[in-house]
Structure formats: C-alpha cells, structure tokens
C-alpha cells in the first residue's frame, strides 16, 4: 500500500494501466497492454526496437492519448485528472529533452517551477539533486555542452526535483558508457530503497539491466508476451540451455543446428548457447559430441547451464 501525497488517497498500485492500445495507421504500436506497479518496485520493459516500449511509456505519461484503455498514476486518471496525475511522476524521455541553450541549473529550475515548486523550495532541492546525480560542479554549463551520460543525469535530476512517487525512464542508458550506466543504476536503486520507495518503470534493450529489475515485461509487436521476476523468467528455460565450447565454431554451430531436438543456437563470444526442446537435454548431451567429432570438430566442454535473461529474451522473440 502506498500513500499518495496530494490527497492521501491510498492505492495499491502507483501505476496501473488497463488494456491500453494505440495504433498509428495500420500499425498496432501498443496492443492491449496492462501494467501494475507497486511502490518501491523497479519494473523493466524490454523488447527489440519497434516492439512498442517508447509508445507504452508515452501512453503512461499521457504524451500520447491511448485509443482505448486507461492509465492511473497514484489513483489519478491520466486523461481526466491530468494535472494531479502528472504531479506524481518524473519522466525521462528517450530523446534528450532538456533545453540545450539553458544551463544545467536553469533547466532544473525551469522544470521545477513549471511543475509547481515555489521559489523558496526549488533552490535547496536543486542543489540536493545535483549533488545526488553528481552534476554539482556543472551547474553553470549549458546543457548542450554536456556529455551523453551527463545529459542523462541532468534529465534524471530534472525528473527527480519534485520528489515524484513514480519515475518513468525510457531507455535512459542507451548510448551511455558502462561506468556511467553503473552510476545511473546505483542512483535508481537508491531511490527505490530509500524512504517512501519510488516506483520505477524503465525500458531498456540491455539484458544485464533487465536482470536488475524486480519484474520484467517482455514486449513484442506491441504486446507484453511475458511478465515475471527475472529468476522466474529464467526458470522457464531451466534445463534447456546447453553451453558448448570447442572448435571450429562454424562447424560446431552447423552441426548443432542440424540436430532434430535443437531449437536454436546463439554465439556468445567463444561459446555457443544451444537451446533444446523440453526434456531433450539428456538426448542432445549424449548425441551431439559424436555428431561433432564425425565431421571433424573438437569439443572442450558441453554442459547444461543456468539460462540467462538473454536466452529467455531470444526464445520469446522467436515465439509466435
């Protein structure tokens, strides 16, 4: 249970979307999507490009109007109680959307003020937030002159300045270096674990980031085709992923593909991940080594491994 600040309304879910759909012409960008996010939860929205992640985010914040379905933020309907609903969240869009010709401080101040912060409130908040994201030394720098990672931190700071209950982050770490990505995630995790516990919805193409979420929704062709905790999702493929090391890789790969119980083969550096049909792992483990040797291949290691989220993602992407 979470208490929303405006009118002390008690709601179970900070974000609740019921059957939202959005089409652009003939394209069903978002198709009957429902979401429920609790306080303190980090929800990851993953999927390939064009799966509908950004459109879903934009529907949740009301930047786009859903063709059908409804969105509630802290109990406020995004279409009818827009102003109240929008006071509850901070949003970081995929495209950098701060003013490049304003300084870091001016951007934060502007978005703080238009989101209703009084002049005696925004300055202490600004300093606090800029220190939190590590931009306190760059307050007078024009936003257009910041590096990619700093731009994202500025976006996050601006989204956080009004102490929102909900944070919606649309691919915040795309194009950001690994160190800054790490920083960024530490910030997000601190937000959800401190005090009231902010809810975060984050979309990402990176599986390592998805595995940091409390729950993950896989999007494909505008639909959420699977939704669970990362460990439960991985459990769906338990015992069906084999790891193969050996040489030469092209032969290993071709041979593995040819096996009747093998569904998919993916290269991970010097290894192959082989997905096999349900309860077929033992058969393949027995059969594959001799098949490979018969065509001149060499095996160093072949064993069942714990599936990664990447394996799950690929499986789901290929499913009909």
């Amino acid at each position: 249970m979470a208490v929303c600040p405006m009118e002390n309304i008690i709601v179970e879910y900070l974000v609740q979307a019921n059957n939202i759909s959005k089409s652009f012409g003939d394209v069903h960008a978002v198709d009957d999507v429902s979401l429920k996010i609790r306080s303190g939860e980090i929800y990851g929205l993953v999927g390939s490009d064009g799966a509908g992640k950004t459109t879903t985010m934009r529907l949740l914040v009301g930047a786009l109007k859903a063709d059908s379905g409804e969105v509630n933020i802290c109990g406020y309907d995004i279409n009818t109680q827009t102003e109240n609903a929008r006071s509850q969240f901070g949003y970081l869009s995929q495209r950098f959307s701060m003013y490049e010709d304003l300084t870091v401080m001016e951007n934060i101040r502007f978005f703080a003020e238009v989101r209703g912060l009084k002049s005696n409130e925004w300055l202490p908040r600004c300093n606090e937030i800029l220190e939190f994201v590590g931009l306190e030394k760059f307050t007078e720098r024009r936003a257009g002159l910041l590096s990619g990672g700093m731009k994202q931190k500025l976006g996050l700071a601006s989204a956080l300045v009004t102490r929102p209950k909900v944070l919606l982050l649309d691919e915040p770490t795309t194009g950001v270096d690994p160190v800054t990505r790490q920083d960024f995630w530490q910030l997000v995790i601190r937000l959800t674990t401190q005090g009231d516990g902010v809810s975060v919805i984050i979309s990402t193409p990176y599986m390592d980031e998805a595995s940091r979420c409390n729950r993950v929704g896989f999007m494909k062709a505008g639909r959420i085709i699977a939704e669970d905790t990362p460990s439960n999702l991985r459990a769906q493929l338990a015992g069906r992923i084999l790891e193969l090391r050996g040489s030469p890789l092209p032969i290993l790969r071709r041979t593995a593909r040819a096996d009747k119980d093998v569904e998919d083969v993916q290269a991970f550096g010097d290894r192959l991940h082989i997905r096999v049909g349900e309860d077929k792992a033992k058969d393949v483990l027995n059969r594959l080594p001799s098949e490979i040797r018969s065509v001149g291949g060499e095996i160093n290691d072949l064993r069942i491994i714990h599936p990664t989220l990447e394996d799950v993602f690929i499986t789901l992407s290929e499913s009909k």
Partner: protein
Amino acid sequence: MFNSRIYSIVRKEFVQLFRDPRTLALAVVMPIMQLFLLGYAATSDVRNVSLAVWDQSKTTESRQLLDAFRAANYFNIDYLVHSADEYQMLIESGDARVALIIPPDYANRLLDGNAKVLMVLDGSDASIGATALSTARLVGQSYGTKVLTQQAALSGRPAPVLPVEVRTQVWYNPDLNSSYFMIPAVIGMILSFITTILTATAIVRERERGTIEQLIVTPIRPWELIVGKILPFAILGLIEAFEILIIGHFWFGVPVRGSLGLIVFTSGLFLLSSLGIGLFASTIANTQQEAMLTVMMYNLPSIFLSGFLFPLEAMPKFLQIISYAIPLRYFLVVIRSLLLKGVGFEAIQNEVIALAIFGLVIMTAAALRFRKRLD
C-alpha cells in the same frame, strides 16, 4: 491570470531569445531595416525625372518654357538633343523618361496663340508615367495662363479671368510626404511579421528539438503553456512598435497626433490576430521552415491586400472584398488615423471592433487546435 508557471515560461523564452543571436537579430535589426528601407525607398513621390529636350526653336520664348519645367522641381533637364533619333535612343535605354520637343516655329505661333509642343513619355513604369504626365500638363497649363496674362498686359487689354478656379487645401500631410503614410504602416507590418514568425518558430522549435515531450508531461495546463509561449512575443512586438514609432517620429518627422494609450490598445488588439496565426501555424508545421512558409501564406496577402503598398480603392471589386478578411487592413486604417489625423476612438471604432473579432476568432481557433500532446 498571472501565475508563476506562466512567469517561468516567459522568463525562459527571453533567456533563450537573448542567447540566440540569429533570432535576436531578426527581432531587433529587421524592424529598423524595414523602417529605413520603406521610409526612404518605397516612396511614391516622383522627383528628379530625367528629361531630354530637343529645342528646335532656340528662342527666348522656348527658354522661358524650359524654365517653367525646371521650376516645377519634378524634371531634371539632363539631355539637350538635336534629332529625333537621339531622344528615341535615350528613352529606349531608360536614360531619359520624358522627351520635350519644341518645334522651330514655336515663338511665332506663340504670338498667334496656337503654339504646340510635343511631350513623349515612357509609360512602361505606370506610376512614374502618370505623375510625369499630370505634372507636365500642369506646368503647360500654368505657363499658358501666364503667357496669356503677359500678352494681355502688353496689348493693354484686361487680364483674362478663368471661369473656374479650384483652390486646394491638403489636410494632415500638407506636403503629401509619402513617408508619413508609409511609416505607420511599417508598424503594422512589423507587428504582423515578427510576431507570427517568432511565435510559430518558438513552438515548433520545441517540437523539433524534442523538448516539447518533457514540457507536455509537466502538470502545466495547455492555456498556461499558450500564454507563456506567446506573451514574450507580444511584449517584443509592442517594444518594436514603439521602436519604429520613436524613430519614425524623430528621424522621419512623422507626426504622432493621437493618444498613446489608444495606439497601445489597438496595437495589442491587432497582436491577438498575429499571435493567433503564429500559434495556428505551429499546430500545422513540423519544422521551423514549414512554420515560416505557413505564416508567409498569411503575411504576403496581408501586405498586398491591406492597402500597405497599393491603395485599396484602385483594386478590382473582388480583391476589395477579399481585403475585408485581412486584419492588417483595419489596423492600417487605425494606426494611420491615430498618428496622422489624431482621431479619437469614435472615428475608428468600426475598425477596432473588426480587429477585436478577428483577434478573438483566430486566437480561439488556434488555441482549440493546440494540443498538449505528441500526436
């Protein structure tokens, strides 16, 4: 009406304006440039028309006629020619606009009272041709009267009396100085151009750069966003109107006879239409170039059909009817009357009502089209 969210947007717009040298130049330099260009160049006062003379008479009488032409201050006797080919060539090349041919028997026939001179005019530029023609006729007539009076005096007869004499009184602009007419109109043009362009591009720029996405997810209400985005350009427009008014008054000597309060009020009313058009264009256009072109489709007809350059009375009926749909038409009447005639509210109330209606209709239509969303 005024709240802190609107104030934040207005302040942000001004900060951005002062950091963008191109827009600032457009906003500050363009009005002054237009003012000087139109104040000096776009004048319909015809002066210094180049005249070629073929004086075949070469007598005291013919020289007196030429003096009369000189005294009119309209013609410059630039060429003295000695053949038809010569003046023909001068007119063809455009070096001379007018040729005056005085026949050999001019002096003799003047005594008989039936002297004739020939005037050849280049009519390809209609406005110069028309003024040259009427000036030449006027010079001829008054010189003719003078000659008659002189002849009467010499022969001891009483001076002939003209049956009708038209006495003229020119009001408001006795010297018929066309910059007095032009400069008030420049105020109208600047209020229209600058505000439509800046308003439309300022909103479209947010869309182009993606900043609109962050702005629309704030709790700010659509009308607050509209007011916050257009108020800076309303203020800028009024400042520029005064900039032109001050330079027009002190440099070009344009009179400011009406009340300043009424000038500000009517300018503000006219701004409603321009800001509304700018806002409307921003709801159609996706790029700043598109926005510019869209507002041009409003501004160009405004210039041609408002009486800015060409008098409405000279236009065919259907164009006159179309001109009623152009807000600038009403504002030009208002601002010219206020500055030159110093009229009060009663004299311009119909135009003021028209401006109010246009302003409200255009602004409402634009505001209704304006969506605080991405789609």
